[in-house]
């Protein structure tokens, strides 16, 4: 480090040259999505929320306090909605009780006083139709080009299946709009935990077990803030095909797709000479699969010849398995001769194929496929350096200087000896 700095300083001194070295990593141009971030809190107000087992307070009062604090601390641009389930029906009829879900605060700019008042009047009442509430919450958030988040807070398992909430979550995630469900269990038991883990896993969300008021408040705040901080444009949905010839042609950007077990999905990317293709694929494990798993991303020419591959494999619990590759067009063919650059050059079509080696556990549903995230970029290629047979570094300078000094001394001594001999004759 010090050597380098010293060398730079000395070289500047010696040459007074002002040529800059290569540019640092460029920051990708940020695009602000057109929509504000949208979140919906879904609160379970079923009868079991009466239980007084969180710091000696009832679950519902802890949740109400947490909601009030979250609404107060809400970032200005975030649009928040609140939906409750099991809040109104007092009867015993399961059929009717399982339709009991209402949106008490519509998704939009939040009127803090009204929202807090709406939450404060809630009293634990009825059944727990989680699946139905999730479906309704997804409708509340609407469709659009950005990621939507649902925060589900519940203390008991769904008492109304079917629909099974986990199946609902998977079905919602497979629809066009990117939806993430974060789940919070209030003093959860084993069954609740499994159900909430399944919902979170199916949508790429998180699961938290809240056992105190502080934990609950802190976590909801974090999730709502995260909706704003990590708020990105949702990837474009694309449908990969089973062969290259009719695969969708992709421009640079991020795409999402679904891939079933042992399925191959093909895409095509045009790459001009002098350009480099960069691609990466992530396949998410949104359901229980066997211990070992892998992802293979290959780039092939249209005739099926493999150009390059990227792969990764792993074992155990993970969210996504990813692989990436680079391929440069100029390396493949002949470099364009200087005279021929005026002629139009057609782009080479490169086929990309994503495959996985996941294996379903007995009972794991195969459809819809697992989420695939594909990124494609085409940038200027970086040719191999043509390094001259020259040297570099301080040792080289020292060696050359020493050699010069010794040569000078030797020549000087020889000259003196020669002059002395010549004078004598």
């Amino acid at each position: 480090m010090i050597n380098k700095r010293r060398s730079t300083a000395v070289l500047i001194g010696l040459l007074a040259a002002t040529v800059l070295t290569g540019p640092g990593p460029a920051v990708a141009d940020e695009e602000t999505p057109a929509e504000p971030p949208k979140v919906e809190l879904v609160l379970d107000v079923s009868g079991s929320m009466r239980a007084r087992d969180i710091d000696g307070r009832s679950r519902i009062s802890v949740a109400q306090q947490a909601f009030a604090e979250v609404v107060d601390a809400l970032p200005e641009e975030t649009q928040l909605g609140i939906r409750v389930l099991g809040a109104t029906y007092r009867g015993k009829d399961k059929k009717q009780g399982c339709q009991d879900t209402q949106q008490i605060v519509p998704v939009g700019p939040v009127d803090r006083t009204r929202a807090k008042a709406a939450v404060a009047t809630l009293r634990p009442t009825g059944f727990t139709p989680v699946g139905l509430a999730l479906r309704a919450a997804a409708q509340d958030l609407g469709t659009g080009a950005t990621v939507r988040r649902i925060v589900l807070i519940t203390d008991g398992e769904d008492t109304c299946a079917p629909p099974d909430p986990c199946e609902v979550a998977r079905e919602l995630a497979a629809q066009g709009t990117k939806l993430v469900v974060d789940t919070l269990g209030l003093a959860p038991d084993d069954k609740v935990r499994r159900q909430l883990l399944c919902i979170a896993g199916a949508t790429g969300g998180t699961y938290t077990a809240a056992q105190s008021a502080d934990e609950l408040t802190g976590r909801i705040k974090q999730l709502v803030d995260r909706a704003q901080e990590t708020y990105t444009a949702a990837p474009t949905v694309v449908d990969g095909t089973t062969q290259c010839a009719n695969a969708p042609l992709l421009a640079p950007g991020v795409y999402s797709d679904r891939e079933a077990f042992s399925q191959h999905r093909w895409y095509r990317v045009p790459v001009r000479p002098g350009q480099e293709l960069r691609a990466s694929a992530s396949v998410a494990l949104d359901r229980p699969v066997n211990l070992d798993h892998g992802v293979l991303l290959r780039a092939t020419a249209t005739d099926g010849r493999e150009l390059v591959r990227g792969s990764d494999a792993g074992s155990g619990r993970t969210d996504v398995v990813s692989a990436g590759l680079r391929w440069s067009a100029t390396e493949d063919g002949t470099a364009p001769s200087p005279g021929a650059t005026d002629a139009p050059v057609p782009a080479t079509t490169v086929c990309l194929v994503v495959s996985n080696s996941f294996a379903p556990r007995p009972g794991t549903r195969a459809t819809p496929g697992m989420p695939v995230e594909l990124t494609v970029d085409v940038v200027a290629s970086s040719p191999a350096p043509a390094a001259p047979d020259l040297g570099r570094g301080w040792v080289l300078l020292a060696l050359l200087t020493l050699a010069g000094l010794l040569t000078g001394l030797l020549v000087g001594l020889l000259t003196r000896w020669w002059v002395a001999t010549w004078r004598q004759h």
Partner: protein
């Protein structure tokens, strides 16, 4: 008269050599955050939503056991990064757990750790676990087919890979620090575009793009044609000049001093 001069010259040359050959100071001490760096209190949950951090910037975040936490940091050629993380458990766990810190490059390719406890296992009584990963030195250029580390964005993913199911969802406190060491690369070649992912939503093209003129290099100006500072051309030229000067000095040292 002559001998002392030569001796001085030789001593000077020797001193110069020793000075030049002196090794750079070793950095064996534990990584510490840069003074004055603002701590980051957030984490992303996927590659697309990874929270950007800088080397030397400490991260302190509350999370749930089982979360997949993502951060990203920029790297330039010649740097060697070290990721250190501490996960502490405020509540007791019911069984042993294995934690892992993984690093991926801008193309989501897994990066090897050359040192560090990448996937430690702790038993139920442990109150904290320390993870670490030292990355390879970032190269300035590599063939497209190689997996060498290149300048651009790097992703860090912290997660728990194995634990008893009842422990999922329990709170954890995560501290993470990425430190960079080394600067500048001695490799030849340069990556034209760093491995920075393009985050915008893609567009499906309807038909093949028409044939177009190949992207021609802009006519390089005079300044662009000059070899870059620190290139082999410059070093070798400077070496030649120094050798010539030293030769003249050496020759002069052997001359009989003129009588006044």
């Amino acid at each position: 008269m002559r001998t002392p001069t030569i001796r001085t010259g030789a001593a000077l040359a020797a001193a110069g050599l020793t000075l030049l050959a002196a090794p750079a100071p070793a950095s064996a001490e534990a990584p510490t955050p840069s003074p004055g760096a603002t701590p980051v209190t957030r984490a992303g949950t996927s590659f697309l939503t990874a929270t950007g951090i800088a080397a030397g910037q400490p991260v302190r975040v509350n999370a749930s056991t089982g979360d997949f936490l993502y951060w990203s940091f920029p790297a330039s050629a010649g740097q060697r990064h070290e990721v250190t993380a501490t996960v502490s458990f405020p509540k007791p766990h019911t069984g042993a757990s294995t934690w892992t810190v993984e690093v991926f490059d801008g193309l989501r390719r897994r990066q090897a750790c050359t040192a560090g406890a990448q996937a430690p296992t702790v038993d139920a009584s442990a109150r904290a676990v320390t993870l670490g990963c030292t990355l390879r030195q970032v190269r300035s250029w590599a063939e497209p087919w190689s997996a060498d580390p290149l300048p651009g964005t790097y992703y860090v993913r912290l997660s728990v890979v194995d634990l008893p199911e009842p422990d999922l969802g329990l709170p954890v406190d995560v501290e993470l620090l990425v430190t960079a060491d080394g600067d500048g690369s001695r490799d030849d070649g340069e990556l034209k575009a760093p491995l920075v992912p393009n985050p915008k939503a893609g567009a499906v093209l309807t038909d093949e793009p028409a044939a177009a003129k190949a992207d021609e290099e802009d006519d390089a100006g005079f300044a662009d044609r000059l070899p870059a500072l620190g290139s082999r051309w410059v070093w070798s030229t400077v070496g030649g000049v120094l050798a010539a000067v030293a030769g003249v000095v050496g020759f002069a040292l052997t001359r009989r001093p003129r009588r006044p």
